[in-house]
């Protein structure tokens, strides 16, 4: 309080005899705090090159630099951030936006140099540059710089709770397992507008997904359009590369979601469901898209197979003004999509919506017509300027174990259930296989059981060579299958189908799998022959893979057709096979065996056909 004095100030003299409080830097060190925002460090293995840090930097201090030594793969670009300390303000925005959390700020902060060029550098981590990161005993403050840094010295690091992105996706409303397994009702309900916009708002626009997508859809653009509540805009963007959004919005393998940078520490953006939202909200594609076929060229193209590949080729070629006829043996479009995916995943109306739109553009569909039987392949070849084959894999493979002929085959089972007469099923069903088809079969069988044997004890079991983590089916499918109480028996191989006295199926004898792949990563299963297990069951369905059927092609032409090592039809960069003016795409060409790759093939082929025709 106020008491002015001339003598009291002299009290301060006492500090002459008290030890000074100075820190005798640099002889006496002071550690910066645990959260200090010092120099950058980037864990190269974790970094995906997504470039979010460069986008958010307010000072444009971060640039993405191509690193030729690194391999660019799906979900990981070969670019790494380069930081300019002539710009950086150490705000840490880049840390908070970094989806994989690879970018960190350390507690180092010394860099003194006479050359301003040394202030630009590509941050790496101590694994990549061990010589620059020294242990704390060898570390000297006086030598400290960007090339002399302390090991394990993380400061300000990313924290999901405070990250600038939202790691959790908007929960997709799904019918509960107990309820959905009772019928074939579509299990995913779909986002409403608010949910879709909220989910779309999570997108960081890094475009890793677009590179991962075989068809290279403009994902971030159409998601931005959904966020801005312009579904028409969004659909237009989708239709630039993908003419079957209703189908792809439901059953796409979603390579994009695997690549999504949000998926590394959180949940990937639901790109597929957003596509579905765009396709589902718009009732009338024709008015929304305002697309017209190109000026007529007078050329005719025949497309064999109305699956994703065939539909896409037809669409792209029609937009270029060619006349397209699509032949298919089935009564409607969609090909495998029509017969394969169960109704609870892909209802027929969705397929028809896409096909209907493509038809409205002027594509001619000739259904219920099998090539080789109703129309001869050679006639097509003569009557058209080009032929595109996208027949897909239509024959199921079999295990060929003892008594295999008593088993059912997957494709036939699915097809009958979906577009024919539903099968009668047993009370204990064994499904052989660990792929998506096997799971489709199993879950469909479960539903049939619940319909045909309501209230009784029934079970569906699967047997697969692969163990949990190797199973080719998607994680989502496996999860949903387990939710529906399907019993999985991974890492078991079928040895023999056991029959009872009446010659009916009694069960499956299995043997333990040693390994599925050989040293080179090829499929070559080996077993412990002595470890056996018996699974009871009154119905066995084999779902271990499909093969194409080329019986419609006459033998002399089939001889001309070249195949790759993996028994796929060989095509050139235009999509043309070894037979002149015959193009091919889809499952008979690629190894991915899914719709979006078929679309990608179709895109290539349509460009090729267009060039070939003009």
């Amino acid at each position: 309080m106020i008491s002015i004095s001339a003598l009291k100030p002299f009290k301060a003299v006492k500090y002459l005899f008290i030890k000074p409080k100075t820190i005798r830097y640099p002889f006496e060190l002071k550690e910066p705090s645990m959260r200090y925002r010092g120099f950058h460090l980037n864990e190269w293995d974790k970094c995906t090159g997504c470039g979010n840090c460069a986008d958010i930097c307010p000072n444009q201090a971060i640039q993405m630099i191509k690193i030729p030594e690194l391999e660019s793969k799906s979900g990981c670009k070969n670019e790494r951030p380069q930081v300019d300390y002539g710009r950086c303000c150490f705000c840490g925005l880049c840390i908070d936006i970094c989806p994989p959390g690879s970018l960190k700020l350390t507690r180092d902060y010394f860099h003194i140099h006479f050359d301003p060029k040394t202030f630009v550098f590509i941050p790496k981590d101590q694994e990549t540059e061990p010589e620059k990161y020294v242990s704390s005993e060898k570390y000297s403050v006086l030598k400290a710089s960007l090339s002399h840094r302390k090991r394990d010295y993380d400061g300000f690091v990313s924290d999901l709770k405070y990250a600038l992105f939202e790691p959790k996706r908007v929960t997709m409303p799904i019918i509960a397992p107990e309820k959905r397994k009772l019928s074939f009702i579509e299990q995913v309900i779909g986002y409403n507008k608010e949910e879709a916009r909220k989910e779309a708002s999570r997108c960081l626009e890094c475009k890793l997904c677009e590179e991962a997508c075989p068809a290279h859809l403009k994902i971030s653009d159409y998601i931005q359009a959904i966020y801005e509540d312009k579904p028409e805009e969004s659909l237009k963007k989708i239709y630039e590369d993908n003419p079957i959004p209703s189908i792809c919005g439901r059953v796409c393998m979603a390579y994009c979601e695997d690549a999504c940078s949000l998926s590394i520490r959180g949940e990937a953006l639901s790109i597929r469901w957003l596509k579905r939202y765009a396709a589902d909200t718009i009732q009338d594609f024709a008015t929304a898209l305002e697309l017209n076929p190109g000026t007529a060229t007078g050329k005719r193209v025949a497309v064999i197979g109305a699956g994703p590949g065939g539909l896409s080729v037809a669409y792209f070629l029609r937009l270029k003004g060619h006349n397209v006829q699509v032949y298919d043996a089935l009564p409607g479009g969609g090909g495998t999509m029509r017969t394969g995916p169960p109704v609870y995943r892909l209802p027929l109306e969705s397929i028809d919506k896409d096909v209907h739109y493509i038809r409205s553009l002027g594509v001619e569909f000739i259904f219920n017509t099998r090539i080789g039987k109703d129309v001869m392949f050679e006639d097509l070849l003569k009557g058209n300027d080009a032929v595109f084959i996208a027949t897909g894999n239509t024959k199921s493979r079999s295990t060929k174990v003892n008594n295999y002929e008593k088993c059912e085959l997957a494709l036939e089972f699915l097809s009958d259930n979906k577009i024919g007469k539903p099968r009668k099923v047993g009370k204990e069903i064994i499904v052989i296989g660990g792929g998506n088809v096997a799971l489709d079969v199993a879950r469909e069988a479960l539903r049939l059981q619940n319909i045909q044997h309501p209230g009784e004890n029934a079970a569906v079991k699967t047997v697969s060579l692969e163990d949990w983590d190797e199973m080719p089916a998607t994680r989502e499918e496996i999860r949903e299958g387990r939710e529906e109480k399907i019993q999985f028996n991974p890492a078991w191989g079928p040895k023999e189908v056991i029959l009872d006295n009446n010659g009916n199926v009694k069960g499956l004898l299995c043997k333990k799998v040693k390994s599925v792949f050989n040293g080179e990563g090829r499929f070559a299963p080996s077993f412990y022959e002595e470890k056996e297990m018996f699974l009871e069951g009154d119905m066995i369905i084999e779902a271990i893979g499909q093969v194409p059927d080329f019986s419609f092609i006459p033998d002399h032409l089939l001889e001309e057709l070249e195949f790759t090592e993996r028994k796929k039809v060989k095509v050139d960069e235009m999509g043309m096979t070894s037979i002149q003016k015959v193009f091919a795409g889809g499952d008979i060409v690629n190894v991915n065996l899914d719709a979006v790759t078929a679309i990608a093939d179709a895109k290539v082929a349509s460009e090729g056909i267009d060039r070939f025709l003009s």
Binding site: P9, A12, V13, Y15, L16, P20, K21, T22, R24
Partner: protein, 298 residues
């Protein structure tokens, strides 16, 4: 005999420089301790001077150069009249009056050279310097008068000798008053707070020194060191009985200086008119009282 005197002159100049610089270093160290820090090494002023001599220096004209030399030589002359223990090269001539006269040369020199620099801030600094000198010269004159009247001599050597017989001047009431007055004006002479008005870096950016750099600043620093030595040794000689040997003498100076540093540490700067008001009130009053007592009793 002549050789001896020259030797003495050299020794005393060197000694004054060393002790003065030591005091400057010490002041930085002690101030630092009160500030809770370690401060520079004691030799820091020497390092500074070495550096300054190795710098290019910018001259602002002949008078600028002459002024600083003039001021420095003024201080050197004063040195020679001051007894340091037994040593006093010019003990026979002059005395207090000469000292008083010569002490004016130093600020005059600085003023000369500063005026040549033609920077408005320099002129403010110089005007402050003269005002302050005006402030402390009056009490100083009174103090010296008191001392001279008391001892009935103007020779400083005699004063020291007399003190050796009668004890320190502080024991006599009039001289005690003058001594206190002297202590009160010492900060003004030494440019210490609360009278650190001439350089006042925060107010007038080093005032007269603003255009000094390189060797000019080095010479100014040395001059300042001499100044410290002169004022302190004058005080020691007049009031603390001088000393037979330089060591003892130095100790006395040190104690006085440290007391001044304490004041320096705990006071802010005065404004110039406040400073003069203070100088003309308390020290002048005390000194005047001392003078009256001396003349009445004397």
């Amino acid at each position: 005999m002549v050789m001896n005197t020259i030797l003495e002159i050299i020794i005393i100049i060197l000694l004054a420089a060393i002790i003065g610089l030591f005091f400057l270093g010490l002041s930085r160290k002690i101030m630092a301790r009160i500030h809770w820090r370690y401060g520079p090494p004691i030799a820091q002023p020497v390092i500074d001077i070495i550096k300054l001599f190795n710098q290019t220096s910018m001259s602002h004209g002949k008078l600028f150069n002459f002024g600083i030399i003039f001021s420095l030589s003024g201080s050197v002359v004063v040195l020679l009249f001051l007894p340091l223990g037994e040593m006093c090269p010019l003990s026979s001539s002059g005395g207090l009056l000469v000292i008083l006269y010569c002490m004016l040369i130093a600020p005059l020199g600085l003023a000369l050279s500063g005026g040549e620099a033609a920077n408005p801030i320099t002129s403010i600094g110089i005007s402050r310097k003269f005002l302050l000198a005006f402030g402390y010269e009056l009490p100083l004159l009174l103090i010296l008068l008191t001392v001279m009247t008391h001892f009935n001599t103007i020779s400083i050597v005699d004063i020291v000798n007399m003190q050796l017989q009668t004890g320190w001047s502080f024991q006599h009431l009039p001289l005690l008053l003058s001594g206190i007055a002297y202590i009160l004006i010492l900060p003004a002479i030494l440019d210490l707070r609360p009278f650190e008005l001439i350089q006042a870096p925060q107010e007038i950016s080093s005032g007269p020194m603003i255009e000094y750099g390189g060797k000019f600043l080095a010479l100014a620093t040395i001059q300042h060191a001499f100044n410290v030595f002169i004022s302190l040794s004058l005080f020691t000689n007049l009031f603390l009985g001088g000393a037979e040997n330089p060591g003892y003498f130095f100790l006395k100076m040190l104690i006085v200086f440290i007391i001044l540093l304490f004041v320096n540490a705990v006071t802010p700067r005065f404004r110039i008119e406040q400073a003069i008001k203070f100088l003309w009130r308390w020290p002048a009053l005390l000194a005047f009282a001392g003078l009256i007592i001396v003349s009445v009793t004397g």
